[in-house]
Amino acid sequence: MSEPKAAPELSETQPTSTRTGPGRLLVAIYGLFALAASSRAAVQIATKFHHAPVAYVLSAFAGVVYIIATVTLTAGSRTARRICVVSCSIEFIGVVAVGTWSVLDPASFPDATVWSDYGIGYGFVPLVLPVFGLLWLRYWAKRDKTDTSAA
């Protein structure tokens, strides 16, 4: 590999940005869900919107949330991290709200969304992803506090 070799213990204990270390995995999964949810919603809205309008609009909304998380985690600036905290919070509330709604009122969801039944169709990854996202952002917020000289 042509990459210069960083000290492994350094990159292990101190990721250099929100997109490295554990963030590498988070960005990969958020990117995957951004692609999956938004392209799925695009096809559904374009070809059969009236079949399940609620589900498709919610899919599109989820797609936008995932795109915001992917972009802001990749950018990693202080502003980007603030936006990401808001979007991950909305994402978590969204999974819980849509999950509960789809369980109580399945008639509104003739076709599933990413967040239906708390993301069961995606191995519940949509439910745990915002939790790990927020934990990762909290780690960075703490680093900001202890490392104010870099600000």
Binding site: P8, R24, L32
Partner: protein, 121 residues
Amino acid sequence: MNGVLPTTIIVAGLALAGYAVVETARNRRMGATLLGALGVLEILLLVLVGMIVARLVGGHRPADLAVLIGYLIGIPLIPLAAAFWGALERSRWGPAVAAVAGVVAAVLMVRLHQIWPVIHV
């Protein structure tokens, strides 16, 4: 279409994911073995996409053609994206990205079967 290739991809994807998780647990970076495995997975997926395209060219159609075409475009990107993104990482989290690609490849075989049942698993 028989189910040999999709089944092979499921086994290969899950084996790759298992190995990648072990590498993550051992605190290893992305190595040549894992990159090679992602290359093999990429070739298997491209062959599968080719077989499905051949069937489409032969005049057969699934119920939801737009969705299938989306999958045919997206599927070959999975190991490529994981190899690039994972190789950029110089920590244990590189193999973790590869593990996701392996699991996703396996899951997509099941999805393909749901979209077009002639694609057996």
